[in-house]
């Protein structure tokens, strides 16, 4: 039995890196400390795709990695508008090969930000993001605001490692000298812990942000008595707490990005932060979902110039979410082939897009089966990043951390699968050129 420390979790955007596991007979047998229950479950492993396979007449037939990779390459090389989607639950090394492949075949490369914090990225492209690393929040923040986010459920270690309950240099007493404000449409588990809970009407985030901004800038007179279901009195109290803080931090989630004004809600949240910053130090951060969605955004950006929804069909990058995002392409039935890696559109995409996805050739690369597996035409099982394969990931605050390899495996890592597909595609194209 071997004990491994400083293990890095490959589940959510918290990327906790102080986990201790026990490994015996090439299996993770125990997670001793550091991981939340969901992270633990991933590290211990569960049902996975056992073998590469190719679907023939509706049934999956097991085959070798070589055969599956060859078939995948054939499909992608022939496509006129292929989509390479996912990337958020694998390592940057694999992401890079994905971008290279997209360029090689003139594909659209997109990632889960499209259905998650894509709106936050759009907002950042409009107004920027005044932010910091998570350790800054841990050491300095005396006011923490969760807006449209419920970390108690979705990012279980967040408050304890980084924000409200955590202890740091100027926050030695944990939550004792801190204030927690939660803004949401219903009283979530996180809201129950809050000093101030603003219950807001669905879809009214934009209006509430505008009101807070006006108040922070000194124009409270123009603001009506009630905005979005929140009383002016409560808004003024919130503004007071914001002004009095030494270091305020706003974390926001899908409640902001996925309701009525979407990315413009985020723009308004950021502008509210900037208005607060005229009084005191204030920062804001999106609660990234997958452990390496920030990573594919980074890789895609430094390699193509853009973070997601990148169309390389004309040989150069064209970026336009709303036109090029995977869901847009699929709902409009634009793609004629798709590679789905390290993600699960089957579970998250609108029905119309899944309908089309199930009609075109789909290659799935993943360690685990999911709804997308039901209709994938080529299945390539991958090694589990962070357990069976190492590599670089970016935490929700964009800090890069290296996942460790804990056990050996027969399964092939994403990076190598991608490299072999790319090689095969190049061989096919060279032959065509002859």
């Amino acid at each position: 039995m071997v004990e491994i420390t400083d293990v890095v979790c490959s589940l959510c955007g918290c990327v906790c890196d102080d986990i201790v596991v026990e490994v015996e007979d090439n299996k993770v047998t125990k997670v001793k400390k550091g991981a939340c229950s969901v992270g633990k479950s991933k590290l211990m492993g569960h049902g996975r795709i056992e073998s590469p396979a190719i679907r023939e007449n509706g049934t999956l037939k097991n085959c070798s990695y070589d055969e599956a990779i060859k078939k995948a390459a054939e499909i992608l090389a022939a496509a006129r508008r292929p989509l390479l989607y996912g990337w958020s639950s694998t390592v940057c090394e694999a992401d890079k090969v994905g971008v290279e492949l997209a360029e090689e075949i003139g594909a659209v490369i997109d990632n889960t930000a499209s259905v998650c914090h894509g709106p936050s990225v759009l907002a950042i492209q409009d107004v920027g993001l005044p932010s910091c690393t998570l350790g800054e929040v841990k050491n300095r923040a005396d006011l923490v605001i969760y807006w449209g986010a419920n970390p108690a459920a979705a990012h279980a270690n967040h408050m304890k490692r980084y924000s409200y309950i955590s202890k740091g240099y100027w926050t030695e007493e944990g939550k004792k000298n801190k204030k927690l404000i939660v803004v949401d449409v219903r009283k979530t588990a996180t809201a129950k812990m809050a000093d101030v809970f603003l219950q807001m009407e669905q879809g009214k985030d934009y209006l509430v942000f505008s009101a807070l901004r006006a108040m922070l800038l000194g124009y409270e007179d123009v603001v009506p008595e009630e905005v979005g279901g929140v009383s002016k009195k409560d808004l003024l109290e919130t503004v007071r707490l914001m002004k009095e803080a030494k270091f305020g931090m706003i974390f926001f989630g899908m409640g902001v990005t996925h309701t009525r004004a979407r990315h413009n809600n985020v723009v308004n949240a950021i502008q509210t932060t900037r208005a607060a910053h005229t009084h005191t130090k204030f920062s804001i951060m999106p609660m990234r979902g997958h452990y390496n969605v920030a990573g594919i955004n980074q890789v895609c950006t430094w390699e193509t110039g853009y973070p997601f929804a990148v169309d390389l069909s004309r040989g150069y990058a064209w970026y336009n979410p709303g036109e090029i995002s995977a869901t847009d392409l699929l709902v409009r039935r634009e793609c004629d082939a798709a590679l789905i890696i390290a993600s699960d559109p089957g579970a998250h995409f609108p029905g119309e897009s899944i309908k089309h996805l199930s009609k075109i050739p789909v290659i799935q690369i993943d360690p685990f089966p999911n709804p997308t597996t039901e209709f994938a035409d080529v299945l390539i099982p991958a090694a589990i990043s962070g357990v069976e394969a190492e590599g670089n990931v970016y935490r929700m605050d964009n800090i890069p951390i290296r996942l460790r390899k804990l056990v050996d495996t027969e399964y092939v890592a994403d990076e190598e699968i991608m490299k072999r597909i790319l090689e095969e595609v190049r061989a096919i194209k060279e032959k065509e050129g002859e």
């Binding site: 420390t5 400083d6 890095v8 890196d17 102080d18 940057c92 290279e100 360029e103 990225v121 950042i124 492209q125 409009d126 107004v127 920027g128 993001l129 005044p130 932010s131 910091c132 690393t133 998570l134 350790g135 800054e136 841990k138 050491n139 300095r140 202890k167 740091g168 240099y169 100027w170 030494k246 270091f247 900037r274 910053h277 005191t280 130090k281 920062s283 955004n297 980074q298 890789v299 950006t301 430094w302 390699e303 193509t304 110039g305 853009y306 973070p307 390389l312 004309r314 040989g315 150069y316 990058a317 970026y319 190492e390 670089n392 970016y394 964009n398 800090i399 890069p400 951390i401 290296r402």
Partner: protein, 564 residues
């Protein structure tokens, strides 16, 4: 390095490190290195054209966290520089924040073969390395920020120079960095509370001044045989009247003795630190005062940080300065404070010839180059992309070489240039030898890279050569600018990578890093304090912090022993 032999004949060579000043000379290369002679080479006939060692850029923001912030939040900059992929090149995008592939190709096309990434936030060092690996052709290195770090400030306060040296050594090793970078010392830690520091202000809670930090770091750095001195972006960057802070900053290292013949401080993008006046309304150039100081002193070197007109993206670890810039323009602004270490701010900025302030700024960078008598004391930079994109270097070269061009350009600028700047009254013109010094020779020497094959064409040097499509007699500024933008040939490690202004090969570059060697006992003592930081204040573990070998597929190590 390429195998085989290459002979460049009939070129007029400018190799200032070896005293070669416009000599008709053959350059022989075998297996990637310059040799005395070759037997059966591939021959390139330079046909009387200007030949220089590959360019060495001492300060540019090309890889890492804030550079990528710039790219990510400026899709509108992305679509400016877009070029479709070719058989050889990946797709390119961006103008002031080019993607990594465009960065490599465009520098190589200008004849550069080495670029120093100016500032690496240590906690995000892996990011800098990931991007550097994706920059084709160029050899590179990066300087970690070690001045706003809590460990640094605590050791400066307690006066423990040896322990500070141990910390510096650990940091440079952990980040696979090149040397000590200093940016707005103390001020960026103050910014984590929304404040800032001038050179003698005490940093909140840490109770040290930026002056003490700079002096402490200079002393600690010189405990080792470090190839490069501390590299300093001083306090009050960009503020009218800051030249006094600048001169005070330079004085701090007067008594410090570096281990070899190099300055004790490299002061970077000096244009931004040469401001007179008391506010924007009476803003004027103090390049004269700065140049005067540099002329009279030997303990410092500078790079100019000269303005290129147009829209660009500013990005520095000077968080408070970036915030004030955003307050002036109201444009998008990203801030990223990094726990226990540093911070950064990124915001777009337009330098316009119609603006009186921008006009004076534009003049200052060139004034510094023209008023400093010894070109070995300065390097040509634009602090890319802060004062402008690196693709503008040929414009500056043509300005320095042609009084006529400067006069013509001044006519298109705001008339304030005749009152608040000195440029119109300066007649000096640079010759090619001086250009070679400020674009390769000086940088290589100041970085210590001339001892590792860069910046010269003596026997043993790397086979990095730039052949510019002009004759040495060329005086036309337009032709000079054009020639320095796209080489006739760029050769990297003996391989032709650019021909007739097109990239023809994209070999991977190497990452050069320094390993300072520190006494075990000192290191052990320092570790106690450092581990405490990781146990209580960092958000990552001690063991997960250092940059793993996997991030440097092509490493080149330089050892820096403890000075005896």
């Amino acid at each position: 390095m390429a195998e085989g032999e290459l002979l460049i004949r009939n070129g007029v060579v400018y190799d200032p490190i070896n005293g070669v000043n416009g000599e008709k000379k053959d350059i022989s290369i075998r297996d990637g290195k310059v040799v005395e002679e070759v037997m059966n080479p591939k021959v390139i006939d330079a046909e009387g054209r200007v030949v220089m060692p590959g360019g060495v850029d001492i300060h540019s923001h090309i890889a890492g966290a804030k550079v990528n912030v710039g790219r990510l939040f400026r899709p509108e900059d992305g679509r400016k520089g877009r070029e479709a992929k070719t058989k050889v090149c990946r797709a390119q995008s961006g103008y002031s924040v080019p993607n990594t592939f465009a960065t490599g190709y465009r520098y190589a096309k200008m004849g550069y073969t080495f670029v120093m990434e100016a500032a690496m936030p240590p906690l995000a060092a892996r990011h800098t390395h990931e991007e550097m690996v994706d920059i084709p052709i160029l050899d590179n290195a990066a300087m970690p920020l070690i001045d706003n770090n809590w460990m640094t400030m605590e050791y400066v306060k307690s006066g423990d120079t040896d322990l500070l040296a141990a910390y510096i050594a650990w940091m440079i090793k952990a980040t696979k960095g090149y040397g000590v970078k200093v940016v707005n010392p103390g001020g960026t830690e103050a910014w984590a509370w929304g404040k800032n520091c001038d050179i003698n202000d005490a940093v909140p809670y840490f109770d040290v001044t930026p002056a003490e930090i700079i002096k402490g770091l200079a002393e600690a750095t010189e405990k080792f045989e470090m190839p490069h001195s501390i590299h300093v972006h001083g306090n009050m960057l960009g503020h009218p009247g800051n030249f006094e802070t600048t001169l005070a900053t330079y004085d701090l290292v007067k008594g410090i003795k570096p281990y070899r013949d190099r300055p004790a401080m490299h002061a970077t993008h000096t244009q931004f630190h040469s401001y007179g006046g008391t506010r924007w309304g009476d803003f004027e150039s103090k390049a004269g005062a700065i140049a005067d100081y540099v002329n009279k002193n030997e303990h410092l070197s500078i790079d100019i940080g000269s303005i290129i007109l147009g829209d660009t993206t500013t990005m520095t670890a000077d968080g408070p300065m970036e915030y004030s810039l955003y307050q002036i323009t109201g444009r998008k602004w990203t801030n990223h404070d990094v726990e226990l270490e540093t911070g950064s701010g990124i915001t777009p900025f337009l330098y316009s010839g119609k603006s009186p302030v921008n006009t004076v700024q534009w003049a200052i960078g060139q004034e510094l180059a023209l008023l400093i008598k010894d070109p070995w004391k300065l390097a040509l930079t634009t602090d890319h992309p802060n004062a402008g994109p690196f693709i503008g270097y040929p414009i500056i070269i043509s300005m320095l070489m042609s009084k006529k061009r400067r006069e013509e350009s001044a006519e298109d600028m705001h008339s304030v240039i005749y009152d608040r700047a000195e440029l119109p009254s300066i007649d000096r013109e640079y010759d090619l030898n001086e250009i070679a010094i400020i674009t390769r020779g000086m940088a290589a020497k100041t970085l210590g890279l001339h001892e590792h094959g860069k910046g010269h064409l003596g026997v043993g040097a790397d086979g990095d050569v730039a052949i510019y499509d002009i004759s040495p007699e060329e005086r036309d500024a337009g032709k000079i600018q054009k020639a320095f933008l796209n080489t006739k040939y760029t050769i990297k490690g003996g391989e032709v990578v650019v021909k007739d202004g097109e990239v023809v090969a994209t070999p991977a570059g190497r990452t050069i890093f320094v390993t300072p060697e520190c006494d075990d006992k000192l290191t052990e003592e320092m570790m106690v304090k450092l581990k405490d930081k990781f146990d209580h204040y960092y958000s990552v573990t001690f063991n997960n912090y250092p940059v793993q070998d996997a991030y440097l597929p092509n490493p080149y190590e330089i050892k820096a022993p403890w000075r005896s």
